[in-house]
Symmetry: C2
Subunit: 338 residues, 2 copies
DNA sequence: ATGAAAGCGCTAACAC
DNA sequence: GTGTTAGCGCTTTCAT
């Protein structure tokens, strides 16, 4: 492909009448090499336009300095914040990130896993699809002692390292918040999913309602977005009696729902209180501002990456569950009643 | 590192009493190899748990099947949509994406460029920082004939391949839209930047205002986000006479500005019309819904990746400027006057 | 402090 | 249709 010959350490060695090994050591700043030699090598490499060949090095060292990331999608605020955090940590540690999206398809996720595996990533960070929370295609990584950190959407089994919120508790708090504002008839809007994220939120909601002796029901949507949020509002419009407080499993759907409720003449928060999840920036843009559960993506990403590097560097595979803080952010959408 | 010996093509060869080259060919489905042999190799490789070693192959082929992407940040809706589009195209073509963020710092961008270069990416997709639109650190790529596609924030010089909107025209259209709604005193809110994105939008704005004989001024903010958008609104509140139509260079700042205007008792669109840029989903969430200029990130990402693969596959380095469609999306924030 | 030599796993030119 | 051979560029013993 490339016309001009690449400069190798042999070229530098020849030029300087040294051996390749000396050059190799000098280039990595190995102090065993005479300081002057190191300087000469540095100069010469600069002069010749040398660049290290990562594969040759990888091939030799059996290490890629690359970590793989598999996420359901890239274009969500939460996930891209997570990635931003991971990228920061990775680049500080001299690692690259290779990123793939599963598009919520377990099949695509398996394919991504194979690619990552063949690319010999030194570690893997994964957020699972909503479709499958006990995939078996990551087994080969653990078999080869390639560490995996799951984040946000974690597998059902216990013997993994993961970073996530305590979704049960977070949902409990969110629901409790509605109850504290005087709501007795509660509705939870979510998707049917075995994933910890949705299942735990659902259970947290039910537990909080039960503990307070409230009437709770759950509305399952095919997906959680603006559209489906609006559909949910239309259904709520027809309910009788209507719920007094709604806890939606993500902010986008909550926002869609709220907008549509307003259009139906159902006022938030006067007629219905509503709270979302994720504390997406949109919460502060909608009117009224949307209460939500805050959960910092960038931190989650950084913690996942930090833990992964610990595992890689210390060859330490102890399973660990890292819980991210969540807190209820009260805004106008849930503030009036009391 | 890894305890168990990795299985190589030699192991398969030994097992099957074949040569490594035959195995290599068989594994890539080379039709010159006997069908039965291919099958046997496939079975055996499966049985032994063989996985291809990408470095060894890369080292040999001098090709990485990896493309590098450098973006200012990951956690913006527009950019993550672009990435999603690129990832789709890349993965269809059997390529991986390695992604780095410059955090709007030219220094970090240069570092990223070095990393990508050393990792021998087969091609590069870049959106520049707002800080520097004529970086020299990508020169080494072109010198080595590694194709680069710039997107969105492109360099000042002409001899590059890029994918972007015609920001001048888009801004002209947006401004003209305000004028058509009856605005005579116009304000543009942006950041000081030599980048095509902001400079061209600014010029488009000025040209449209001038062509219509309107009074135009520009407010430069230190950044374009919710906060600074609100600051802008505070400044607008003190202006006299007040502008009648505002064109903001991105939607987040536009939304922040609009919210703050409302808080100051300045009604949108009754007192002031406003239009943003990017058609971010938040446009439909704010109240009133925000007019904007639509510009599809996913398409831009896909087009950039498509063009890059063309350059890689056909060894074709003709410079090409691909213009993405933009259109003014009229929503309530600019609809009343006429 | 430096060098010689072997080998990481794969591919491709060239044989047969 | 299959095998032989050499080499991609680097790192790492082991010598000296």
């Amino acid at each position: 492909m490339n016309d001009e010959k690449e400069v190798t350490i042999y070229d530098i060695a020849r030029e300087l009448k040294l051996s390749a090994s000396t050059v190799s050591r000098a280039l990595k700043g190995n102090p065993i090499i005479n300081y002057k030699t190191r300087q000469k090598v540095a100069e010469c490499s600069e002069k010749l336009g040398y660049r290290t060949n990562a594969f040759a090095s990888n091939l030799r060292r059996k290490k890629t300095n690359t970590i793989g990331v598999i996420v359901p999608r890239l274009d969500s605020h939460f996930l891209s914040s997570c990635l931003a955090g991971m990228e920061e940590v990775a680049s500080t540690n001299g690692y690259n990130l290779i990123i793939a999206q599963s598009h919520e398809s377990s099949k695509k996720e398996a394919e991504n896993a194979v690619t990552m595996f063949n690319n010999r990533v030194d570690g893997l960070i994964v957020s699972l699809t909503a479709e499958n929370n006990q995939p078996d295609y990551f087994r080969r990584f653990t078999e080869k002692h390639v560490p995996i950190v799951y984040f946000d959407r974690i597998p059902a089994k216990e013997d993994v390292t993961c970073v996530c919120a305590n979704n049960f508790e977070a949902a409990y708090k969110a629901t409790h918040h509605l109850i504290a504002k005087g709501c007795r008839r509660l509705l939870h809007i979510t998707i049917p999913s075995a994933s910890n994220v949705y299942a735990d939120r659902c259970q947290g909601f039910e537990a909080a309602a039960k503990d307070a002796g409230c009437i709770a029901s759950t509305l399952f949507l095919p997906a959680l977005n603006m559209e489906t949020g609006r559909d949910a509002a239309n259904q709520i419009g027809k309910m009788s009696p209507r719920p007094e407080g709604i806890f939606v499993a993500n902010d986008i759907a909550a926002a869609g729902c709220m907008l549509q409720l307003e259009e139906l003449g159902i006022a938030v928060p006067n007629d219905i209180l509503i709270i979302g999840f994720n504390n997406d920036p949109i919460c502060m843009l909608v009117n009224p501002p949307l209460s939500s559960v805050s959960y910092c993506g960038r931190d989650a990403g950084m913690m996942a990456a930090d833990r992964l590097f610990e595992m890689i560097d210390n060859y330490d595979f102890a399973f660990q569950k890292i819980i991210i803080d969540t807190s209820v952010i009260e805004r106008e959408s849930s503030l009036i009643k009391q």
